[in-house]
Symmetry: C2
Subunit: 287 residues, 2 copies
């Protein structure tokens, strides 16, 4: 039987439809959700990403503020920009586009984003809160993976999910989120021995390795669910789609899988942040 | 061949020998490392634990401040005590004894401990920093497990470690710490299907489930390393020692395994906190 194609564009559209209603409601209270994006340097792919994010903001009636910093920006200069945005009441969410030039301490910069504006889920504090289910915004790609799972009512409880990759913004957080959904989780990486044998036991495979066509169909258990978070040059995923398609019961294509949902998660978090921050402000003014 | 018995008392002694030197050095600078413990209510086991911690402090020449709060303490009252200790320059580490009475929001109380005094590694911020290897103190039982591994030079790289349990102070942090040591990790829990089959693939088993004699020898791969973090009434571990002994290549006994190392980790973190905080204070005074 052909697998179910997990259509990220459809998932993203349903999220955006919901957001439009929430944004309209916020505007009635004179609040327009605003995302600030920071791009350091001249990386062309990064430029495209922040442009896409800003465009999607505007399409939904949100505001965006785009900060461009030169290639030679220091960590201190970047921290100062983040500090200003942290204290700007009109900005509800802050995104620092990854990667930054090598002279910058990216982790320090991420961790200087105020927790309540960390809509991209990159702070270590936010990772901890999200792992303990305390309400911080999760990283957007892991959130997108969960959104796809929920949209298609895929059952995770007791299932064995194998995550390939362990980065701070993808492999680690998605593992903790799947664990919180009662999956048994395994995290694999470059040092894993006998990777195909490990993947063989997976009911759910999350490919987050950053290498094109890395996961092969022959590694899979019959009927596995394949979630491809890879996005390599030339619109190629981390999964060898042709061979994995035949073995899987459900699979995300690339493009059109996790990717489009990721941006909608960023905007969802920004709208939520705007709702929380405007409520807090209203409470303060009423005090 | 008989397995290697991983002797926690020996590991703890080596840690304490190192601590004595560091404490002597601190005292020459007129700093005595001080741990504040907070016990809420009348739980007898908890009383014994905080007493043991205070005793070990004193044996090593450290100070301890013991705060006892009545069973009916509110969250607000507890937060106020923590707030005072956070701002007391003579206190370098704070431990809130788990569990607290049910009317208290324990997570909120944990998370109100200042990061630099969180020597028990219970804050969600500390969990995030520790997972990203940014220098926060890890939880003490996970730290003890790693200390035993290091003392006996057990190799983790590429090995498959299966952690049974997913609590915020044990299963989750130890999983992330083993992952950072380049193990492939699997986290199992009450919803895991076919647990014995999952454990069968483990080169390393961490039992952190809180049920006496839960892990059976017949589940194990021949030659697995068994780390038993369980400590159930009557000095019984989470591992069925008799049957696991024969299958393992190395095993921690209970008592005398992870337990004694856990307290020494708490003191190690407190001494490190005292060193950092006194350095910071000295820098401030010289400014």
């Amino acid at each position: 039987m052909d697998p179910l194609i997990l259509d990220g564009r459809k998932v993203a559209q349903s999220v955006k439809n919901q957001l439009k209603l929430q944004i309209a409601e916020l505007k009635q209270q004179d609040v327009t959700p605003k995302l600030a994006t920071i791009l350091v340097g001249n990386d062309e792919a990064s430029k495209t990403y922040v442009q896409m994010k800003a465009n999607t903001c505007h399409k939904l009636g949100m505001e965006s503020e785009r900060v461009f910093l030169p290639e030679e920006t220091t960590t201190e200069e970047l921290l100062s920009v983040i500090h200003q945005l942290n204290h700007d009441d009109t900005v509800h969410g802050i995104l620092l586009q990854h990667p930054v030039p090598s002279q910058i301490n990216e982790r320090l910069a991420f961790d200087s984003i105020a927790l309540e504006k960390d809509v991209d889920g990159v702070t270590s504090h936010g990772f901890g809160e999200n792992t303990f289910q305390l309400g911080a915004y999760p990283c957007c790609t892991p959130a997108a993976i969960l959104q796809v799972i929920d949209f298609y009512n895929l059952d995770l409880e007791g299932k064995h999910a194998v995550v390939i990759g362990r980065s701070p913004i993808l492999g680690k957080p998605v593992s903790m989120m799947l664990l919180n959904r009662n999956a048994t989780i395994t995290v694999c990486h470059s040092k894993t021995e006998n990777l195909p044998d490990v993947v063989k036991h997976a009911d759910v495979v999350v490919a987050a390795v950053g290498q094109p066509k890395f996961v092969k169909g022959e590694w899979l258990k019959e009927g596995a669910i394949i979630l491809d978070a890879g996005y390599n040059p030339g619109n190629i995923g981390d999964v060898e789609y042709e061979t994995c398609y035949n073995k899987s019961s459900a699979i995300t294509p690339v493009p059109g899988g996790i990717g489009p949902v990721t941006i909608s998660m960023l905007l969802k978090h920004t709208v939520e942040a705007a709702m929380k921050q405007s409520n807090n402000l209203a409470m303060k003014l009423n005090m």
